[in-house]
Amino acid sequence: MSHTIVLNTVGLSKDFGGVKALRELDLEVRERLIQAVIGPNGAGKTTLFNVISGVIAPTGGTVFFKGEEITDLPTHRIAHRGLTRTFQNLQLFADMTVLENVMVGMHHKSRGGFFASAIKAPWVIAEERRVRDESMEWLRFVGMEEHSATVAGSLPFGNQRILELARGLASRPELLMLDEPAAGLNTRETQDLAQLIIRIKESGVTVLLVEHDMELVMSVSDHVTVIDQGHKIAEGEPDSVRNDENVLKAYLGEE
């Protein structure tokens, strides 16, 4: 396969007191593909996302992004390298408009600091215009341009999920991690989401997906990793994973 590895974890572990949420987990994510991580509740999927994105520190193991270690980097530095994410329980900037939310996504693609902003330096004005225009482009990409002036907190739930995605895209990531993007969406919205995820891949962004909706996972993923109790128990193409003995055991319990 010509797809090189963009993200990999080696022996990644995370303990919460006595609970081992991740145990020696090795994961490889290949560029320009959609990879899904699935597993029963409590398998450690969200913990995995939190550790990779730098929101929490692992107990052991390392995370490499584009061949460089990012394990101990602060979250915003990891974002600068080109890795961002969305959240299972939405983390929108609820009091800001839809457009402003996306513009925050472009934070590290722009430079205006306290001083230059306070005196409104000419280059800051030009930069603001660029950020605004590009952010509108991202809203158009996800089909939300008519909501640009709406306050994010007052959007319908489905639109809020999409907005979080647009905000992440605006930061021009190489790897976008989606934490249960279909949770709370109806069938129609989930289908639209699947189309959107595929378009994101086609634009050259690698997608790492945690999701419970199996139909979505099976329809968009190129590669699926199954974890249970912090272990990797299976991986491969969607069809082979679906019939894997270990996976069936993990989901349905032992005979």
Partner: protein, 328 residues
């Protein structure tokens, strides 16, 4: 009803406000009102800074009276003890307070909620103790006398009217810089931090840097206000910079409307002037004052400015509803 773009621009409000301030003095019937306006202006400068911190970024400070006091004492001591000109005192006050706020801010702003409130509260109390105990510099609990009148490059601000315009220029400058900051990449980052720290950081916002940055800026505003206060009063004492004043500053911002710069000015005006007008209630002054504050918060929980905005919008809506009903 569509509001014209020019009216919605924040600079329209700024120009209107500047004009009102410039032409206000001849309409004042009493010299005393000028004195009151000077205090309102000084308080408004601190309130704007505190609103950037509290209203926009969501970080509380119960120690801002200390930065105000430090600004006042630094320039006061330099003037009274070393005969430095006020403009030199200003530079030392702004830079000194800025550096101190930076040093205090780095560990403090790692805290959240009540813990941040306690830490800033403690800082304020410690600074006030220094004002009281460093007798040889500050004059101790009885205060520092002998601060020179305000002169800037030889020009003496020797009347209340001249001082009023000096305060106005300082306030307008603070206001303009703040309007620009909140409507920029920095302002968005600050509001994003208020909304969700974790989401801000995964989008590349260096959360602690912005928190410390806005803390420093708000402290520097307070120091500017302290400088104006010091050379206006030509006397400072520790009791003006205590915990109660920090609380009053927070109240100005909350009553005015959190996250609105105009609200902060409004709150400063209200909380500075109201006690003066409530003197008629003599012994019941504080009770009436408290009653008014509680009433405002019950009926306008988003603060006075937003509360009034909401009311106006409601009135407009009901008017335009009537219009549409009439049309066939």
């Amino acid at each position: 009803m569509k509001i014209p773009r020019i009216v919605r621009s924040p600079y329209a409000g700024f120009l209107l406000f500047s004009a009102v301030l410039a032409f206000l003095p001849p309409f004042l019937t009493n010299e005393y009102y000028l004195n009151l306006l000077i205090f309102i202006g000084i308080h408004a400068i601190i309130a704007i800074g505190l609103d950037l911190l509290l209203g926009y970024t969501g970080q509380i400070s119960l120690g801002h009276a200390a930065f105000f006091g430090l600004g006042a004492y630094i320039t006061g001591v330099l003037s009274a003890k070393a005969s430095w000109p006020p403009i030199a005192g200003l530079v030392v006050a702004l830079v000194g307070v800025g550096i101190l706020a930076y040093i205090i801010g780095i560990p403090t702003l790692k805290l959240h909620g009540h813990y941040l409130a306690m830490a800033t509260l403690g800082f304020g109390i410690i600074v006030q103790i220094f004002f009281k105990e460093l007798d040889f510099l500050t004059g101790g609990p009885s205060g520092l006398v002998g601060i020179e009148d305000m002169t800037i490059f030889g020009y003496a601000f020797d009347s209340d009217l001249k001082y009023y315009y000096l305060v106005c220029v300082s306030l307008l400058l603070t206001l303009l810089l703040s309007i620009n900051v909140v409507r920029s990449r920095v302002g968005r980052a600050l509001r994003a931090i208020h909304g969700s720290e974790v989401a801000s950081s995964v989008l590349g916002v260096n959360v602690s840097r912005y928190k410390v940055g806005i803390f420093v800026l708000s402290a520097v505003y307070a120091a500017l206000a302290g400088w104006l206060y010091s050379h206006y009063m030509t006397f400072v004492s520790p009791s003006s910079f205590g915990f109660m004043f920090s609380i009053k500053l927070v109240t100005m911002v909350v009553i005015g409307s959190l996250g609105s710069i105009w609200g902060a000015i409004f709150g400063a005006a209200l909380l500075t002037s109201m006690p003066e007008f409530l003197h008629v209630f003599a012994n019941y002054e504080t009770t009436v004052f408290g009653f008014i504050l509680v009433t405002v918060m019950v009926f306008m929980p988003r603060g006075l400015l937003r509360g009034l905005e909401d009311m106006i919008i409601r009135v407009f809506k009901s008017l335009s509803d009537h219009e549409t009903v009439k049309e066939p």
